[in-house]
């Protein structure tokens, strides 16, 4: 009988006797690198804090999402995931997932490349920090990442950075709602274009084409939306071992600045020690920093790999700005749960310098079923209420860049403990005046478009109501200088030669593009460097 760590499924959760690489976290960053290295013949062990979610249950999880009172479909929350927050309250568990596949289980699947300027904001504009790599360094890996994730897109975006080849899958055509915006935008000289989606517009890589369940975020029952489960499966087929229910508690190092061991727990309360030649931490923008801070040692009293003192600092997110209203005609919202048109025209503007991208929403206003479940009547009265609520909404969203600020940070909060007795993460996060002005700038463009469209603007999400897009970035920033950064251009720790940190925590600046394609590209680039180090 295998030692399953108390899970009860008979799966062996004891450490592997030999591992070339130990990867902590099975989201896209960890899964892609695990797959590439296992393919090259490396012995790879992946330790995942959460469970493995059975794809057969996705319809049921979808129902859990739609229906109130059924709980979180991805089981987030509770002592395992506790956190504290200061400043502008940060809802840390709103969109992250602990489980095989990580937060791609929940994400919407928008996958844009950063622009050239995003890598050199300090040089160009005197704000933020330059990356130690530029767009050209990442460009081939962006292409590889698009193939890996199966990106549906088109070459119709005049503002996108240069690319070498078409997208692997054809773009999803514009929605009816997009077509309503088209004339107004044309009159205003605002260009609409397609959205790169990590979602199958046709069958790809063994996964089905999108069927339009309308609940991409947080559950895609068809499997058309990319999740990192895809590369976990590929990694396992290539020989990697993936251990779920195995939260890593800390990393331990030797006297030669090399990590020796990942100490992980199993549900039966025991700790296990996984040794390896190389260690990769890829557990998200908050937990990456937290794990390093939890791994403080006599030599690294401020946290592992933290001789710079910046682990946890420069926490960033993208801000949502939005506006919406109603038209005097059907707008056909909520057929699908993703967007088919955006505008990147204002992204590279220098006034304000913060990046901005506009999204023409295909899910403006309430969906009938969710409205029905929240109603306090039924029968004909309910139908009348639903007809009033649904049908004529339009909305434009936006992501707005937040520049790095050392005071926005993730620390450990010893006043609260998780289910293993570790201090919970504390997220200190606020917006400065320039970010608020950039949000107002986005609102002004949105209002112009809606007004031109003939819509009555009914709501605006501006600086007061804004919230994060749940793109946690910046807490283990990359850079050339070990005094001011945590990892180098290959995502290898400056301090410990066999420690690699992957994910959006390495971004020195975040632009205003959804981060996962860049996470994937950086992981594929790091995989090359890791392979050379083995």
């Amino acid at each position: 009988m295998a030692d399953d760590g108390g899970v009860g499924d008979g799966v062996d959760r004891t450490p592997a006797s030999r591992a070339d690489v130990c990867v902590v976290g099975s989201g896209p960053a960890g899964a892609l690198v695990a797959h590439r290295l296992a393919e090259q013949g490396a012995d790879v062990v992946v330790l995942e804090a959460g469970p493995r979610f059975d794809f057969a249950n996705r319809r049921e999880q979808q129902e859990e999402h739609i229906r109130p009172g059924m709980g979180d479909p991805w089981e987030m929350g509770g002592p395992r995931d506790d956190y504290t927050t200061a400043g502008r309250q940060y809802p840390l568990n709103a969109a992250r997932v602990k489980g095989v596949g990580g937060s791609t289980l929940h994400w919407q699947g928008m996958v844009m490349r950063l622009h050239e300027r995003d890598f050199e904001m300090e040089t160009r504009y005197g704000v933020g920090a330059d990356w130690p790599i530029d767009y050209e360094d990442l460009r081939p890996y962006y292409a590889e990442a698009e193939r890996a994730l199966g990106v549906a897109g088109a070459m119709d975006n005049p503002y996108a950075p240069p690319r070498e080849e078409p997208f692997p899958l054809p773009a999803f055509p514009p929605s009816h709602s997009d077509s309503l915006f088209a004339d107004a935008c044309e009159r205003l000289g605002i260009d609409m274009h397609s959205v790169p989606n990590a979602r199958n517009s046709e069958p790809y890589d063994g996964r089905a084409a999108c069927q339009g369940y309308g609940t991409c975020k947080p559950v895609c029952p068809s499997g058309a939306k990319y999740t990192a489960e895809s590369h976990v499966r590929k990694a396992e087929r290539a020989g990697a071992r993936v251990v779920d229910h195995a939260p890593v508690q800390r990393l331990e190092h030797d006297d030669d600045d090399r990590v020796e061991t990942a100490v992980y727990a199993t549900p039966d309360g025991r700790e296990h020690r996984q040794s390896a030649r190389q260690f990769v931490i890829a557990c998200g923008g908050v937990e990456n920093a937290r794990l390093l801070l939890l791994s403080a040692s006599e030599r690294y009293p401020e946290g592992l790999a933290n001789s710079s003192g910046v682990v946890g600092r420069f926490f960033m997110d993208h801000l949502f700005a939005g506006a919406g209203g109603r038209l005097g005609e059907p707008t056909r919202q909520n057929h699908i749960g993703f967007n088919t048109s955006e505008c990147h025209q204002f992204y590279d503007d220098s006034e304000p310098v913060e990046g901005l991208k506009l999204e023409f929403l295909n899910y403006a206003g309430p969906s009938p079923v969710m409205e029905a479940l929240g109603a306090d009547t039924w029968g004909d009265d309910l139908l009348e209420q639903l007809r009033d609520a649904y049908g004529t909404h339009v909305a434009i969203g936006a992501l707005v860049e937040q520049l790095p600020d050392a005071e926005n940070r993730v620390t450990l909060d010893p006043s609260e403990r998780d289910d293993h007795g570790n201090p919970v993460p504390r997220v200190e996060w606020s917006l400065d005046g320039r970010t608020e002005r950039a949000i107002e700038h986005a609102n002004a463009i949105q209002h112009r478009i809606l007004t031109e469209l003939g819509a009555e603007v009914e709501w605006t999400v501006g600086p007061d109501a804004t919230g994060p897009a749940y793109h946690q970035m910046g807490t283990t920033r990359m850079g050339s200088d070990p005094e001011s950064s945590v990892v180098d251009a290959d995502c290898r720790s400056h301090d410990l030669s066999n420690l690699w940190v992957l994910g959006s925590s390495t971004f020195p600046t975040g632009g205003a593009m959804n981060p996962t394609l860049t996470i994937a590209a950086l992981s594929l680039r790091a995989a090359d460097a890791l392979e050379a180090a083995l």
Binding site: E60, Q62, E63, I66, R67, P68, G69, P173, P174, S175, H176, S179, A209, C210, Q211, G212, Y213, G214, T215, P221, S222, P330, R332, N334, H335, I336, G337, T340, N362, S367, P368, V369, M370, A372, L373, D376, T377, W378, G379, D380, L382, L383, L386, R387, Y390, G391
Partner: protein, 195 residues
């Protein structure tokens, strides 16, 4: 008859009991059921009969093929979810017990306006859907929300509102570019893609 009498008293007082305690197995209550005092309330009718009667209250007037719909998309949907289905059956039994206690008749045999009044007098329209909560919360969760979810996440219900492929139903990829909703093709699921 303690628990049900409590509910009856609430109605008598003209106040809706949004948080009334669930009936527990007791000699008084069971006596009203005419059943074994050691057991939970039992359904006096077929579960489908009760759910269909409830759908008659919850769904708009004039929905055709309602019973077939409930059988397929309510009972059928949860056929392999035994714990959940047990919750549905238990909540149905509780509602049925209330009907027999208050109106002297199984829920499914009552007139539509009486069925509606029982739900409202239980406070179900404003109850929190909670599978662990008091009876009104459990009726909201296992019965009312279940029936509304099945209906308005299907083309049958969606069409009435103006969307032939509502969220929760596979098929939006076929319809999101359309400017108008085509006429239904006439199948019991509303005529759109069944995915």
């Amino acid at each position: 008859m303690a628990a049900l009498a409590a509910a009856g008293a609430t109605v008598g007082g003209g106040v809706l009991a949004g948080r009334m305690e669930p009936p527990r197995a007791s000699s008084e209550r069971s006596a009203s059921n005419g059943s074994d005092p050691s057991t939970e309330p039992s359904l006096s009718t077929d579960l489908l009969d009760l759910l269909d009667a409830l759908a008659g209250v919850l769904y708009p007037d004039g929905v055709e093929g309602r019973r077939e719909f409930v059988e397929t998309y309510v009972l059928g949907r949860v056929s392999d979810r035994s714990d959940y289905r047990d919750g549905v059956r238990e909540a149905a039994a509780q509602l049925d017990a209330v009907a027999r206690d208050w109106e002297g008749s199984p829920y499914a045999e009552l007139d539509a306006d009486v069925r509606d009044r029982i739900l409202r007098n239980l406070g179900v329209e404003t109850a929190d859907p909670d599978p662990e909560g008091p009876i009104s919360d459990r009726i909201r969760f296992y019965l009312v929300d279940d029936l509304l979810f099945a209906f308005y996440s299907s083309p049958t219900g969606g069409r009435l509102v103006g969307i032939e492929n509502p969220i929760g139903h596979p098929g939006g990829i076929e319809s999101y570019q359309r400017g108008t909703m085509p006429n239904a093709a006439g199948d019991p699921n509303g005529g759109e893609s069944d995915g």
